[in-house]
Every structure is written in C-alpha cells, then in structure tokens.
Amino acid sequence: MNIIKHITTLVSAGRHPVSGEPRHCHNDSLAMTIGLDMAKSISAKHHVLHAGNPDNKALSEYLALGAGQIDVIPISDDTDVVDCLATQLNHADLILTGSRAESGEDSSLLPYLLAEKIGIPLVVNALAIKVKANTIEVLQFLPKGKRRHVTVKLPAIIAIHPLAPASLKFSYARQISGAIKTLLVPYTSTSTSVHKTQWQTLASIRKPIKLKAPENKSGHDRMMSAISSESKGGAVVNNGNSVEKAQVILGYLREHRLINF
C-alpha cells in the first residue's frame, strides 16, 4: 500500500548571479521535477509551495518547468519563512526542497530549521528517492563519487543535491497555462529574518572564490585525492566536544592562512 498521498516541494525565488534577473532556483527545480515524477508514478498529489511575493516573476519559471499550480504564502519581506512554512506543511507526507536558495540568507539551513520546527527527520544531499512499503530509500550524495542508501520513515524532509539527475523541461505552454494561487490566510510571524531588514541585495560583480588550502602535491597525488578520500590528507576528528572540534578547524584555517584572526 502506498503511504504517500501528498508530496510538497518547496521552491524559492532565484536570481541570476550575473544579470540579477528573477529566475527559478535550479536546485529547487530539480527537487520539484523529482517530486512530480514520483507523484505521477505512485499517484500521489503533488503541491508546490512558496513563501514570498506571489508576483515574483521567478515563480512563472516553475510553472514552465511543470509545477501546474504554485501555492504562495504571501509574506512581507521581513517575515521569517521557517515559521510560516511549518504551519502550512501539516498534511505533507513528504517534503522536498533544494539544498540551498540563490538569494536571501542563502545559508542552506532552511531544511534543517524546518525539520526541527516540525519535528520530522531530514535527509540532505539526496540524489534519488525510492518508495518502499512504509519508508522511502534515499540515495545520498557523498564526496568523491561515494553514495549511500538511507532509509527514512515518513513524514520527512528530503533536500535534493544540486547534482541530482533530473532533466528540466522548460515549456512555454505550461508557463502560460499554469496558475499561481495566493493562500487566503496570510501568515503573520513574530520572528523576523535578519537579512531582509538589514541587508542590501546587489548583482554579484565577481564570482566567489573558494577558499582552499594551497596544495603542493604531485600529479599522481592530486589524482588520487580526487578519487579517494583516504589519500586526501588532513585528519578526521572524532573525539572531543564541539568546541574542541571547532578549534581543530580553526587551527587548520589559520595554518593555511585562510583566515587572519
């Protein structure tokens, strides 16, 4: 028997890093495509949920990508989305989302905060989802080409990895025939989001540079470290409390002059 009746995918408003044009967030679209395919194969209902401005042009791109209908919780700019999403997600058996938004605080913490708030399990970096009798099995991304299967009880939140294999199909016909529905009861939250009140958003001028310890390795070593985690070097810290562990990381960053405090 199929236990999943409602799948909800959370989508965020993206923003093109160069032009600043509103657009779909690619990672959320992957989640939505996986959700739609899954809903179709197990005849569940699929919902697309967004918290924000219903007039945002980015939303129509999700329609083009197959959303059909997008439910929008209309919230003002300074409202924290976690609270209002949590209240809206009571009926979902499975909640999908991308791993990280393209604008706003962009911290990739939303799935964690949401799981904590609703009190259901979270699996991150999912590449594929298989429906089992009472559970679902998630293929999880690990670095260096490694994968692992995680079985999780429902309801649950699954955050899809940006490299999940789903092909997006952008159709103008779906874009103009889809609907954006503003949910009637606007949610008012007491907690406010930091960035929305204090931050300014600009198009990025330069590509962000990844902070990396300079490597001084032979070609063979570099190849080995790209394909196996054993030969990466460094250390795995299992012992100690979180403060001690954080100290190790800080030490590493200082040693390689990636931070200067």
């Binding site: 093109h16 032009s19 044009e21 657009r23 199909k169 103008y172 016909a173």
Partner: protein, 641 residues
C-alpha cells in the same frame, strides 16, 4: 464501335477518374489549417512555371530539356486529344499534330529512361522507376493510334489501345492514388497557392512567420506543429508536389555529415502522415508507414520503422526529434528544390512544438535558451561586458540623446576573443572612412535569432520587442553588423513586430564606402591562395554575395571559388542552433567545408560571420587560415600609413 470512339470513351473515363482522384487528393490537403490565399493566383501559374520554377530546374540543363520535351509533349498531346477525341471531331490534321506531340514526348521519355539507367543515389526508385515505362506506353500507344487509319492492322490497334490505357492509368489513377504523377497537379497548384508568395516577385522570402503566443492557438492546446493536420493546407499541398529528385538531399550539409536528416525523406514522411486518415480506417490507431519510400534513408535510421497519420503526433513515431535537431536552417534544400518546397518552415514549425509545448531539446540548447531568457545573451554573459573589446578604441556609445549615422551592433560574437579581432578591424575601417558611428553598448540584447531557430518563439518575441523598444528610443540612420544572423533578424524578421530598420552587413557598408571613395583601401600584401566562404544567412537569406567579393578584388586579392559558393554555398554547420543540439553524425559539417577549401588548394578562407569563423576555426589539423573580410581590409590600411 470504332477505335476513335473507344479513344473518346477512354478519354472521358480517364478525365472522370482524374477528377475523382483530384477531389480525393484535395480532401487530403484540406485537412490542414486555413491559410490566406487567392484564386486569382491560378492565373499566375504559367509565368511562375516558366520563370520561377524553370529558373531552378535550368541549373541542370540536361534534365530541364528532358522535362520540357516530356511534359511539353504530354500536355500538348493531352490538349489535342481533348479537342479531337473529347469533342469527337476526329480531324486528320489534329491526328498529325498528336503524332508530333507524342513523338516529342517519346524523345523526352527516352532521356528519362537513359537517366534512370544510372541514376544518382539522390533519385528515388520504387514507383518512380516505372515512370519511363508507363509514360512510354502512353506515348507509344497514342502515337500508333494517331497514325492514319489505313496503316493500322486490327491487332496492332488493340495492342496500342492497351498500351494507351496502361499509360493513361499512370496519369488518371496515379494522381489520385498518390503516384509519381501527382507532382504535376500538386506542383502547379503549389505554384499558385505557395505559402511564400513574395518569392514570385523576384524577392527573397526568408523570414520565419510569427505565431500567436498569448492564447493556446490550436484546438489541441499545442504550439507549433504536432500532427500533420497542424500544417496549413497549402503547406500540405506543397509537400505533395515533391518529385523526389533529391536535390535537397544532395545539398543538405547534415545529410552529408551523416546526421539523421534527409530533407527529401522528411517531406515524404509528412506526405505519408497526411495521406493516412486513421478515422476512415476501421482500426482507429492505424498508421501509414514509410516502408514504400525508395530513396536514401535518414543516415543511420532504417526505412520501414516509422509510421504516422493525419491526427497522430509526428514526433517520434513518424519523424524522430534528432532528425529535426540536425538541421542548420541553411536553406540549401529550399534553394535547390525545383518544386519550391519550404523545408525550413516545416522543420521550425515542428521544433516549435517540441520547444514551446514539450520543452524537450537536446544538448546544450536548453541552457542556451535559459541564458537568453535570464541574461539576454547566448552564453549567459554580463551584457555590460559585450563591448569590453572596444574600451581602448575611443568609440562613442549610443545614448538616447546622441544621434549618429550608423549604429554598430556587435552580436554575441563580441564575447568571443577571436571575433573581437574582427570587430576591432571593423572599427578601424569605420574610423578610417570617417564614418559617424556608435556602439550599442549595454543596450544591446541578443536578437533572439538562435532562440527562434530552436523553436523558442516566446523568447524570440520577448527579445525582439525589447530590442525594438530600445532601438526606437535611439536616434540613428542605419544599423551595421558583422553578424549575418543579427542582420537577418533585424532586417527581415523584426518588421513583423514593428521594427523597420535599414540594416547592412559590414561588407555591404564597406563596399559602399569603398566605391564612393570615402574609404581608401590599399593593396593587400596577401599572396596566399584565398577563397571566400558565403555565410548562409548573408547569401541565401539576404542575397548578399557580391560585396565581399568586390571588396576583396578591390584590395587586389583574387577569390578562388570553392565547389559550392554564392547563393548555393555550403553551410559551415553553425546555424539554426545545430552546434548546440549537436546531433552526432559520421563527420562534422565544418570539416566538409574545409575539405572544399583544401580541394582547391586555398590557404586562406575569407569569412563574414562569427559563427562561420568559430566553426571553421574549430577544424583541427592543418587547415587554411580563417580571416574575416574586415581583417583583410584593415591590414591594407596599415600598409598605407
């Protein structure tokens, strides 16, 4: 009953059969969508036949003469038979005239037969192979029967009558049943009701036609062409005119490269599709198959595995998507087609459905369309960066309050470091000619050319409207561009959205400036053997083949022509989004073009398009140097100073 009366009977029987067949055929065409047309154009058929169609056929004089003899003889004989036997006059002098007409026809048929004996692979066999025999039967039968009665022994007359009946069946029955002779009727009607009437006014007609986007237009909620019945009825009629001569196949770069496209088979597949009505068959899912097609298959796709019907989706059961995505929209097929069939319109129509309705595109095409939607550039670049190559050149950038004579639009090539050299050379030339010009700067959005060829009419129209809005807010007299794709969109396709501009390719403007003496060019010190590659979007799409050659000549360079040049130039493989969809074949199209250059021993290939530059320079190994016209011209300025 005498032989004469038998012929009269046969004539009227055949005429009735033909009319019934024609009615049946026209019912098939009428399944298409409505189209603007005018009955008056029926009167234009003779002129269009003898001028426009013959202009194409006469490129191959042997077959042109063969056709004149065969068809001319046959038509004359039929008219004479209609008068003499149809109206039961039975005059002897008319019999002599029939005899002469059929004799001419027979000579023509003899040459048809000769050619069929070692036919080039582009010709279809199958039903077409029987044509010399059935036509000969008709001609011989009629010829014998029109001999003076005294000569005829009874048995000979009977034999001749049987031959005549067999031959007439090809005409009378064959047309209605979709045999080879249907080309005669469909071809003539196609001349009258051609979807691109401008072609007959001696003008080029290459702009794609816009489709409505605000509503879902067709009853099946689809954009573009999904099923054969989504074509306009006069397009279906046009497909029926195909004589399977394979000239399109021989000209098609994708076919030559072994990609799964053959424009001839594409047209025949569409004929299969609209000729089969599943509703009139007891099996509602029945389909017509392509098994009877007796020509070259789509490379790599065996014949007999595809089928379709009038109301069934074309892709993929009748035509695979890869076939459609292989096309470079070079229009070589249209240029060669003696029946003036419009392959590219059909292909783009089908692509529109895949793109706008299904959103299914191969390769990096989806990414490109997304870039166009989100950044108005093909490569997803920052629009501000488009004119970085000109920062040190001291050229002004246009603004609403700065009127200029000439607005220079760089196109997507401006982001490519190779093509920036061409653009810098062009700026140098314009400065040398003291032209009042300005760059478009960050106002410039992509013209949407690639989006449109890929079937994304929505993105094209959005970009077109934005560009027109911008251009209309600026003050300039003419636009010049070094990119023929920009030229084509702005000059030919923006008019449908209210953008009317005088747009010139840089070679045209430079040729004008050189001719008027405003641009003083030196002599080139280029001693290597040089050839010029015509960009499809400059030559076939815009008819400009002379200016580049005149310019090269004016700086003392002799142009050695490659095998296919001018209006019949071979494509570099860069158009129509083909490099993005990147359908695998046996070789790459630019390799074929470079092989053309190598064959004539060219060491330099002059070009006039960023796509051609990139495609031809992408050929690996020892190849001729690729230089833009502007570069060759600019280098003579250095010599002067």
């Amino acid at each position: 009953m005498s032989i004469q009366h038998l012929i009269t009977l046969l004539f009227w029987l055949a005429t009735a059969t033909l009319l019934a067949g024609l009615w049946r055929r026209s019912q098939l065409w009428r399944q298409g969508q409505s189209a603007d047309f005018s009955w008056i154009n029926l009167l234009a058929i003779p002129k269009r036949y003898f001028v426009d169609l013959h202009h194409v056929v006469s490129r191959e004089p042997f077959i042109a003469r063969t056709h004149v003899a065969t068809a001319g003889g046959a038509v004359a004989a039929l008219i004479l038979v209609a008068i003499n036997y149809g109206l039961m006059l039975y005059w002897n002098v008319l019999n002599w005239a029939i005899l002469i007409a059929t004799a001419i026809m027979l000579v023509g048929v003899f040459f048809v037969w000769l050619r069929r004996r070692n036919a080039p692979s582009r010709l279809s066999r199958g039903a077409w192979s029987r044509l010399p025999y059935s036509l000969a039967a008709f001609a011989i039968g009629l010829l014998v029967l029109s001999l003076p009665v005294s000569v005829l022994a009874g048995s000979v007359a009977v034999l001749a009558l049987i031959l005549l009946m067999a031959g007439s069946a090809e005409l009378a029955l064959g047309i209605g049943l979709g045999g080879p002779m249907k080309h005669a009727i469909a071809g003539l009607l196609h001349l009258a009701f051609h979807p691109r009437q401008q072609r007959f006014n001696g003008k080029l007609s290459t702009a794609l036609k816009p489709i409505a986007l605000d509503v879902i237009t067709l009853e099946n909620q689809e954009f573009g062409i999904s099923k054969p019945s989504d074509f306009k009825w006069n397009q279906l009629l046009g497909f029926d005119a195909c004589v399977q001569c394979g000239k399109c196949e021989a000209a098609c770069p994708a076919f030559a490269a072994g990609q799964p496209l053959n424009p001839k088979k594409l047209i025949q597949d569409l004929v299969v599709g609209f000729s089969h009505d599943e509703k009139s068959s007891h099996d509602k899912n029945s389909k017509g198959t392509d098994a009877k097609f007796a020509g070259s298959p789509y490379p790599g796709m065996p014949i007999g595995e595809h089928s379709g019907s009038i109301h069934a989706p074309i892709v993929p059961s009748l035509i695979e998507a890869e076939t459609l995505w292989s096309c470079t929209t070079c229009r070589a097929c249209v240029q060669e087609c003696p029946m003036l069939i419009e392959h590219v319109d059909a292909i783009v129509g089908l692509r529109r459905n895949l793109t706008l309705t299904k959103g299914e595109l191969p390769g990096s095409a989806p990414q490109t369309l997304e870039n166009l939607r989100q950044t108005a550039t093909v490569g997803g670049f920052d629009r501000k960066a488009r004119y970085y190559w000109a920062v040190d050149l001291n050229v002004k950038t246009i603004a609403p309050n700065i009127p200029v004579d000439i607005l220079l639009i760089a196109g997507e090539g401006a982001f490519d470091m190779r093509y920036q050299r061409t653009l810098r050379a062009l700026v140098k030339l314009l400065k040398a000619a003291k032209v009042d010009f300005a760059l478009m700067g960050e106002y410039e959005r992509d013209t949407g050319d690639t989006a449109r060829r890929l079937g994304d009419e929505a993105t094209f129209q959005k970009l077109a409207k934005l560009n027109i809005e911008t251009l209309n807010s600026l003050s300039f007299k003419r636009i010049v561009t070094a990119d023929p794709h920009v030229l084509h969109s702005l000059k030919n396709e923006y008019a449908a959205f209210g953008g009317n501009y005088e747009v010139l390719h840089h070679s045209t403007l430079l040729a004008q400036l050189a001719a008027s003496g405003q641009l003083k060019l030196g002599k080139s010190d280029e001693t290597r053997k040089l050839t010029y590659h015509d960009p499809c979007y400059l030559g076939r799409y815009n008819g400009e083949t002379e200016s580049p050659r005149a310019l090269l000549k004016s700086i003392g360079i002799q142009v050695n022509e490659m095998e296919r040049s001018g209006m019949r130039g071979r494509c570099c493989g860069g158009g129509g989004g083909a490099p993005l969809t990147d359908i695998p074949g046996k070789q790459r199209i630019p390799d074929i073009r470079i092989a053309d250059a190598r064959t004539i021993g060219a060491e330099v290939v002059a070009v006039g398009c960023p796509q051609c530059t990139a495609m031809l320079e992408g050929v690996v190994g020892n190849r001729p140097e690729i230089l833009d016209i502007a570069q060759l011209l600019a280098s003579t300025l250095e010599l002067e100073s």
